[in-house]
Symmetry: D2
Subunit: 108 residues, 4 copies
Amino acid sequence: MSDAETTLQDLRARVQQFNDERDWHQFHTPKNVAASIVIEAAELLEHFQWTDGPAAEQSPQIAEELADVFIYCLVLADALEIDLSQAVRQKLARNNARYPAEEYRGRF
Amino acid sequence: MSDAETTLQDLRARVQQFNDERDWHQFHTPKNVAASIVIEAAELLEHFQWTDGPAAEQSPQIAEELADVFIYCLVLADALEIDLSQAVRQKLARNNARYPAEEYRGRF
Amino acid sequence: MSDAETTLQDLRARVQQFNDERDWHQFHTPKNVAASIVIEAAELLEHFQWTDGPAAEQSPQIAEELADVFIYCLVLADALEIDLSQAVRQKLARNNARYPAEEYRGRF
Amino acid sequence: MSDAETTLQDLRARVQQFNDERDWHQFHTPKNVAASIVIEAAELLEHFQWTDGPAAEQSPQIAEELADVFIYCLVLADALEIDLSQAVRQKLARNNARYPAEEYRGRF
């Protein structure tokens, strides 16, 4: 099972089940989860704190840190009843209008 | 098209296309993207900076900020060739072993 | 009045007065202030998101963002009754023992 | 020596000396230091991730995390030749004009 075969909902259901089994939803206020996303994102950034090199990139821990960020994104989407795929499509459409490809090619 | 019908790969392809059209991959070093994830996550947290209340939660901007975090997660997964769904499953399996449901019910 | 003549307490008193005049201490729970430090730190990082170059460094906004981070550090020190100069000296002493200068010269 | 007797310059000098002895200034690009501030700030927030209670506040580690944030603020001030006390005074003056005390008493 890879990204090609896994829907967002598949992962949301797995994360929900994990938290259901532990009765952890009670801790997942939007504020706590938003703080958790930042905390995990900073742990991910820590791997690139002093370098941008290949050593850091090959670390198997980086996939784990990225998973942590993503898992809390799924928890927040659940807590606030956000459809992530729709949110991403809408954001890309907005960015598409804001940054026309011709005008922004190779620059911001 | 909702989270029930959208695969991770669907979204990865859309984000790739957006960046291809602008030739923006050149800016997406792992360090820059990891920094971007933190920056967007902090903008998300800003909505809960002084409150945890429903006013903040109903803001339509929150879905947009969450999409920003998620989009950069997809960019980093691409840059480092990480399969996100596998990374999430592996992390949940590890957490499952580390936090047995019986022992951790209702507490950390 | 420069850093050479300004004590930590001078700045703490000024920040206290600013918040006293607005009755803002009520919002300054340690959690909210800790979140604020991260949020302001991420705004500071945003100036270096895509570059490390001199253009970003010369921006007059960077001193302002750094001041924001520092102001919230002072607010948290107040809220938790932490003496910042002692905390810094203790941390440097600990790092001194942990990273002997001879052993760690030029590397981590 | 407490915050009442310690100038910003005193602490800047101590931090400079620590990094001089290890030849660590070479790693302190503004981008790396700004990233470090966020990373340490997130470790500080981690103490309040799931609670805002007194248990977290009494932790002796919090003063240490706050010192870490502050130390990197001093390093960045050095790297960019920013006078922190002036930056704080200017920011407070700006906020004073932006948030008149009468109008913003008890609210944002």
